[in-house]
């Protein structure tokens, strides 16, 4: 390799390393914090001097965290399933069918994508108290699936537009109704896009904090991000730093797994929906 080529390689290696460090160092810091021995928590060093699993043992001893983890997983999964099912139906219609009111649907999803959640917190808080779903799973699932619907509809309709639709026409020529063509031909082809959308929607629901602290009051439905804000130390005087760090790492694990396994899909999903519309 020529000297210029080597210089270019080194230059890009340096740039890549800067980007990777930028992306990872806050994550590394919270991981390091979670492995610090309580006595060394305040030594301020980036790498733990005393490694310990104690913080992790601690959080899994209390129902405070385990209950929140179950809530997080359950609520995010159910919301994702509902949002993706409803989104798939609407996106198919948007991508393939011609019917009056389509632009209205798109305008409405856009409006909701831009909607400030805080504006809904006060009315939802009151409505949910009146009808008795405040501080329940349902009470969180409803706003989550609603706010992730626009994301689902956009991403899915972008994916759906890439599907070879001639197959659908062929099915129709063979005598399938539009509904059959949807179920038997298109649905299997659309599966990868649906899966990607499900990941994006899950990340969205997993991430929420505002609804989670506003629409819950006990551990019955409080998800992990909200529960973190209520963590107390093992004793009254201990700071919960180690427990919060450990819990934070635990809820980051699924995100890291998704990113490592499905990087290509997530990038495609994020960009197709927004740019190609």
């Amino acid at each position: 390799m020529s000297a210029a080529g080597r210089r270019r390689m080194t230059g890009w290696a340096l740039v890549n390393i800067i980007v990777i460090v930028y992306a990872l160092f806050p994550v590394c810091w919270i991981i390091s914090l979670s492995f610090k021995d309580p006595s060394t928590l305040t030594d301020g060093s980036f790498i733990p001097t005393e490694w310990t699993w104690e913080n992790y043992h601690g959080i899994f001893q209390t129902s405070e965290f385990t209950r929140a983890l179950i809530n997080s997983i359950g609520i995010a999964l159910i919301s994702t399933v509902i949002a993706v099912v409803l989104g798939t139906m609407a996106a198919y219609a948007v991508a393939r069918l011609r019917f009056p009111g389509k632009s209205l649907l798109i305008g409405m999803s856009l409006l909701i994508a831009m909607f400030p959640p805080i504006s809904l917190v006060s009315p939802l808080f009151n409505i949910e108290r009146i009808i008795g779903i405040f501080d329940t799973w349902i009470g969180l699932i409803i706003p989550y699936m609603t706010f992730s619907l626009p994301l689902a509809i956009y991403t899915l309709s972008a994916f759906f537009r890439e599907i070879p639709w001639d197959l659908e026409k062929a099915a129709k020529v063979d005598g399938a109704t539009p509904a059959q063509a949807f179920r038997l031909v298109i649905a299997p082809l659309a599966a990868p896009g649906v899966f990607t959308t499900a990941i994006l929607v899950f990340i969205f629901c997993w991430n929420d904090f505002l609804f989670a602290i506003s629409l819950t009051s006990t551990s019955a439905a409080r998800t992990v991000p909200a529960a973190l804000a209520f963590f107390t130390g093992s004793s009254q005087f201990a700071q919960p730093t180690g427990s919060i760090a450990a819990a934070a790492v635990v809820i980051t694990i699924p995100i890291i797994i998704f990113v490592l396994l499905f990087q290509r899909r997530i990038v495609a999903g994020l960009t197709s929906g927004a740019v190609k519309g």
């Binding site: 290696a13 740039v15 890549n16 980007v19 992306a23 806050p26 994550v27 914090l33 305040t42 060093s45 409803l86 989104g87 609407a90 198919y92 219609a93 948007v94 069918l97 019917f99 009111g101 389509k102 632009s103 649907l105 798109i106 305008g107 856009l110 909701i112 831009m114 909607f115 400030p116 805080i118 504006s119 809904l120 917190v121 009315p123 939802l124 009151n126 609603t146 619907l149 509809i153 537009r161 539009p178 991430n207 505002l210 991000p225 804000a229 730093t241 760090a245 934070a248 809820i251 995100i255 490592l260 990087q263 997530i266 990038v267 994020l270 960009t271 197709s272 927004a274 740019v275 519309g277």
Partner: protein
């Protein structure tokens, strides 16, 4: 906007006789409505109805401790909010955070997008790394920053002259909130810009180079104009998103030392002051601000909302 134009013709059904066509079209229309109905009903029931209800609540004096004493008070809650310095303080903080973070994100996002677009190796690794800030739970990242900047605990605070606690002073704290926000959301901006970059034809850039345009000229005179739709969409989304900032501030400062955003103010009025009337008035005002920003973007800059080209199909 033009991207979907060619596909429009392929949607036109093949000519058949008139009755069959209208029969098929009717069936298609019915299926379309049927498939969209659940999504539309959910979205209307969970956003349109509550926002109307929020307007109704905002016209009441409604203290959650004394729900029996709720009464209609007209616009006086709005008067109370708009004449309160807390609202204006929170609004300026929010606008400042929004403007600064979106500008920084645009510049950094462009740099990141160019790196991802041009790097000659490790492209997958860089993209994987970049998705971590996007995917990580905001609250988790916020705690990481909070501990990093807390004296004694944090490695970053230890770099400062001792005795400095940046999260307890207004401007340093706002700076750190912006830093946390920028770190978390730049990757999303970068990915949107990356998709825009992919649409810039390589030949156009090469032609400009042959004509003697330098790297900066190529970037500002060729790449940026061609990417204008992608840039505007990214800006619109990020501006609206930044305006709603809540999680980072809640964890980093809880809005203390005059660092609260309008969302924090609304939350505090609702859950600390337990004043549903004032809280709802703030909710409605935030909604109006967001609508104003979106309107300004679409009208002034001609940002094409993603999907808006669908209207013509």
């Amino acid at each position: 906007m033009t991207a979907s134009a060619p596909t429009a013709s392929q949607d036109t059904p093949p000519p058949k006789d008139d009755r069959a066509l209208s029969e098929g079209a009717r069936q298609e229309r019915r299926l379309g409505w049927l498939l969209c109905a659940p999504a539309v009903i959910v979205m209307l029931a969970v956003t349109a109805y509550p926002i109307v209800y929020a307007v109704y609540l905002s016209l009441q004096r409604y203290d959650l401790r004394f729900p029996q004493q709720a009464e209609f008070v007209g616009l006086s809650n709005y008067g109370a909010v708009l004449s309160s310095e807390f609202w204006w303080q929170a609004l300026w903080v929010t606008v400042f955070i929004t403007v600064v973070s979106v500008v920084v994100e645009l510049v950094l996002g462009f740099a990141l997008a160019l790196v991802m677009h041009r790097t000659i190796f490790g492209r997958g690794t860089v993209r994987t790394a970049i998705l971590i800030p996007y995917g990580i739970v905001t609250v988790v990242a916020a705690y990481s920053w909070q501990y990093a900047w807390t004296p004694e605990t944090g490695y970053l605070a230890d770099l400062l002259p001792s005795g400095d606690a940046p999260l307890t002073e207004q401007w340093p704290a706002i700076g750190l909130i912006i830093l946390a926000e920028v770190w978390k959301t730049t990757p999303f901006m970068a990915l949107l810009l990356l998709a825009g970059l992919a649409l810039v034809p390589e030949e156009t850039l090469r032609a400009a180079q042959v004509d003697g345009a330098g790297a900066w000229q190529r970037f500002f005179l060729v790449t940026v104009p061609l990417m204008k739709p992608a840039i505007l969409v990214a800006l619109l989304f990020r501006t609206l998103d930044a305006f709603r900032i809540f999680d980072n501030i809640y964890i980093l400062t809880s809005g203390a030392h005059n660092t609260g955003s309008v969302s924090i103010l609304g939350y505090d009025n609702l859950f600390t002051a337990l004043n549903l009337g004032i809280g709802s008035a703030i909710s409605v005002l935030i909604f109006l601000c967001v609508a104003l920003i979106a309107f300004a973007f679409i009208k002034l800059f001609g940002a094409a909302a993603p999907g808006s080209q669908e209207g013509g199909r």
